[in-house]
């Protein structure tokens, strides 16, 4: 049965439930495994990274599968997917895989096919010059940045996602193609703190953030929203019921209590937060999800605000680069960014990364106390001398 071409296809709007099929679930994975994967399923013995972006997995059967990992934009057109298919048909018997971090993986079963595949991939460029399938993203390097929808498709963003990721990865391209870091680096990007991208456990997290409290659309709030839900949505209790001069039900907001999370806007369209001057980017660092050596960690806020300087976000790019360069030159082998920061002390992290430490970076939300330093163990940095001076101590 071919895909239909009538305007409404085979669907009959007069009888919407006719012949309806539901609850099929996803298609079964096994049919999409290349033969070499089927044959060696569960029999893999070890793997090696032959060069950045190229892996070989060796099976107990002696079989080897070579994988070429390419950076992909999560946002892609059917034209791009068709080009992926063309490559997969040409070299990989029509099979291809995508990774959790939006990379594209082409697999072949011989070194000869591997060389031809690599050459082909690196030769493909968009007419305006960017690579279509850059090889890299393995080992102690930078892999693809996972991200959210941003201005391309989301109604709550505080910044754009695809453009920021493009800008940052252009700036850090050599790290994607190399393996020169002490350990792997995972950067993630979410365009508001709803964090569809769950960036909160990344080596570096780029997070869109609002800085102005909601503006209230008194005209429609009563009709369009459940006011009690809006009030209940506020984690700090900043929203309370109110009446307009002409007696309409609405809400009022204690602005100094707003922490700009946008949870009220998720519940109600009449309290938008986004604002050109207010919105910007927060940078977090030092998180990870792996259990290797140290348990998983949350990322910590290290830069409270950078402007949304479209389309290239120079301040964001430079700050990320600065952190990575300090990390690359100072961390020990196998140390993730968070491990490094904890070993040298966060005060040294700010010094070595040349980042100002402001009051915004000291937690004052629910579990703040756990982050206070209740010890006399600290290192002296310029920031410490400033405090001593201010207190009249030196």
């Amino acid at each position: 049965m071919a895909l239909s071409t009538e305007r409404l296809g085979r669907y009959n709007p007069d009888k919407p439930m006719e012949n309806r099929i539901t609850d099929l679930g996803p298609r079964h994975f096994w049919q999409y495994f290349p033969p070499i994967i089927q044959k060696n399923y569960g029999k893999w013995k070890y793997h090696e990274i032959l060069e950045p972006g190229v892996l070989v997995h060796v099976s107990e059967t002696g079989d080897k599968v070579f994988t070429v990992r390419c950076g992909g934009c999560r946002f892609m057109s059917v034209e791009h997917v068709r080009e992926i298919c063309e490559i997969a048909d040409k070299y990989c018997d029509g099979y291809v895989r995508f990774t959790t971090r939006n990379n594209i993986e082409f697999m072949v079963d011989s070194p000869e096919k591997l060389e031809a595949l690599k050459k082909d991939l690196m030769s493909r460029k968009h007419v305006s010059g960017s690579y279509k399938f850059p090889i890299g993203g393995t080992g102690a390097g930078l892999t693809n940045i996972v991200h959210t929808q941003g201005y391309l498709h989301c109604h709550t963003p505080a910044t754009d996602a695809s453009s920021m990721v493009k800008a940052v990865l252009d700036e850090l391209f050599e790290y994607f193609q190399g393996m020169t870091f002490p350990a792997q680096v995972r950067i993630s990007m979410a365009c508001c703190l709803n964090m569809c991208g769950a960036v909160h456990c990344s080596d570096i997290a780029l997070l869109g953030y609002h800085r102005k409290p909601p503006v209230i659309d008194h005209e429609v709030i009563e009709a369009m929203c459940e006011i009690p839900l809006v009030i209940a949505a506020c984690p700090t209790g900043a929203i309370s019921p109110a009446k307009t001069e002409d007696g309409k039900k609405t809400v009022k907001i204690k602005q100094e209590r707003c922490m700009f999370c946008g949870n009220c806007y998720t519940m109600c369209l009449a309290v938008p937060l986004s604002d050109k001057e207010g919105d910007g980017v927060t940078i977090l660092a030092g998180g990870k999800v792996s259990n290797r050596i140290h348990p998983p960690k949350f990322s910590k806020v290290v830069v409270p605000y950078l402007p949304n300087n479209f389309p290239r976000y120079p301040e964001v790019c430079q700050t990320v680069k600065k952190i990575l360069e300090a990390y690359a030159s100072d961390a020990k082998k196998y140390e993730r960014i968070g491990d490094w920061a904890e070993r040298i002390g966060w005060e040294k992290f700010f010094e070595k990364c040349d980042l100002p430490f402001t009051e915004h970076l000291i937690d004052d939300y629910r579990l703040a106390y756990d982050t206070y330093r209740t010890s006399t163990q600290f290192k002296y940095t310029e920031a410490a001398w400033e405090v001593s001076k201010a207190a009249g101590g030196i």
Binding site: A2, T5, N102
Partner: protein, 472 residues
């Protein structure tokens, strides 16, 4: 070993399914693409065509041109939708704000998820994206595809939608990005009837489960991540499509403690492969690493000269429990002290392998910061054998869901409910005893919520008895 799918799988052949002819698919030249200008002026967006990283703008323009050159009746939504999307992106850069309206409830009959309504707030300027709804399509486990499948969904989506998609969304689905309301049911009909394919989750549902590459191409998978992901996704289709939960619920399946799908940070219920016997050691390979014959960490550090591999410094001293040593030239591991962090295995994959008596650790409650702050999953079940049909896991899941559906407040994730009621209550619900492994350390305050039945004689006392002994 091969797997039996729950439903027989119809083989999809692109040549039988296709909508577009070869001529239609190859309807523009490189030269035309170079000279192509979209209908809007988008200087900042076009700036993003420069630089080495793949440009999503260059890619989108390709689709815009392709649509320009397709006959009008070969697309069911406006041909300019890609151009309008790029135009609206430029406007968003200019204004520093998004131009998508808040929400909009659309969907397919009988499902409460899988479709996200999206409308432009400047439809007069960009009429072809006035509606731009998202459809989530449930990906096959671990995202392997063949080109017959991919080409078929490309034709379907270009014909009935914008031709723009995400491979993949954050949760794991294939995302179809942008179509009009009228086409939602026809697309769903084609997906189910022709492609034997279903939508994924959204809203207060079970979200589309996802898993790592697992045994398909990794030597460390301690359980069958794909099979378990597939089985539980199919078994809980009702929960995935019809919202009955307080909020979203996520399963993620990581084959080992390296956590490549970040289950510990992102899933309400995280399944992480582990073992309970001994790390397998190949002493000859250990020697080969020591002698520099094999690159450590699978060659991951090859880009920089880190000096000669030093097993003492790089493995033994970095072991978090210090349970390893060299003895008479052999590597010895005290496995009962090992916490299975994977470091030594990651560094010497040819010498060390996880044990063979494998299963999962189950952790509960991870979520992003909204609202109480971010949470990671808490270790709750240290080890569980997992074999199809995973009845032991299903039984546990249902205990958790019953409680959460009964007690959870609107938009309260499981992790927040556990915090609100306390872990002891959660353990009572899932009927397991406490263990020290559930906490980093015991509590440091003595405010124990004793229960009446814990205390001899109960809590009902008479003040007169008290006063008989103690004057006021």
């Amino acid at each position: 070993m091969a797997f039996e799918p729950r439903e027989p799988q119809k083989e999809l052949k692109y040549d039988e399914l296709r909508i577009y002819t070869d001529e239609e698919l190859n309807n523009y030249t490189e030269e035309e693409l170079k000279n192509f200008k979209i209908k809007h002026d988008i200087p900042d967006v076009e700036e993003l065509e420069k630089g080495p990283w793949p440009s999503f703008v260059a890619d989108a323009k390709r689709e815009a041109l392709h649509r320009q050159k397709l006959p009008e009746d070969r697309m069911m939504i406006a041909r300019e939708c890609v151009e309008d999307l790029l135009g609206q992106l430029q406007l968003s850069f200019d204004d520093g704000e998004t131009h998508w309206k808040h929400g909009g409830i659309v969907g397919v009959f009988g499902y409460g998820g899988g479709v996200i309504g999206r409308y432009s707030d400047v439809p007069e300027k960009y009429p072809s994206i006035a509606h731009f709804h998202t459809m989530r399509v449930n990906q096959p486990a671990s995202k392997f595809y063949n080109t017959d499948y991919l080409r078929s969904i490309c034709d379907l989506w270009e014909y009935r939608g914008s031709g723009l998609m995400n491979m993949h969304g954050s949760t794991g689905d294939i995302i179809f990005l942008g179509t009009f309301t009228e086409q939602l049911e026809p697309i769903f009909y084609e997906l189910t009837h022709v492609l034997q394919q279903d939508l994924g989750g959204s809203g207060s549902n079970l979200r589309t489960p996802s898993c790592c590459v697992g045994r398909a191409r990794c030597e460390w998978a301690c359980f069958d991540t794909q099979d378990m992901c597939y089985e539980l996704t199919h078994y809980y289709q009702d929960e995935l499509h019809r919202p009955a939960f307080p909020y979203k619920f996520k399963f993620k399946f990581d084959g080992c403690p390296n956590c490549c799908v970040a289950s510990i940070a992102r899933a309400d219920m995280s399944f992480i492969g582990t073992w309970r016997d001994e790390i397998r050691i190949d002493q000859e390979a250990v020697q080969a690493y020591i002698n520099g014959e094999i690159a450590p960490n699978g060659g991951a550090h090859a880009g920089k000269d880190w000096g000669k591999f030093d097993i003492q410094k790089e493995v033994i001293d970095l072991c978090p429990t210090k349970c390893m040593r060299m003895e008479d030239g052999k590597l010895v591991i005290d496995n009962k002290e090992c916490t299975r962090c994977m470091h030594c295995i990651n560094v010497m994959p040819q010498a060390l392998r996880p044990g063979t008596d494998t299963g999962v650790s189950i952790l509960f409650g991870a979520k992003a910061p909204i609202l109480e702050g971010a949470q990671m999953s808490m270790l709750t079940i240290p080890f569980m054998k997992v074999e199809p049909p995973y009845d032991n896991v299903k039984e546990l899941i249902e205990k958790v869901w019953d409680w959460w559906m009964e007690e959870g407040k609107n938009r309260e994730r499981l992790g927040e409910l556990i915090q609100r009621y306390g872990v002891p209550k959660f353990l009572e619900v899932i009927e397991v005893p406490p263990m020290p492994q559930m906490v980093k350390e015991p509590r440091s305050n003595p405010y124990i919520f004793w229960k009446e039945e814990d205390v001899p004689g109960g809590w009902q006392r008479d003040i007169k008895d008290y006063r008989a002994k103690h004057k006021r």
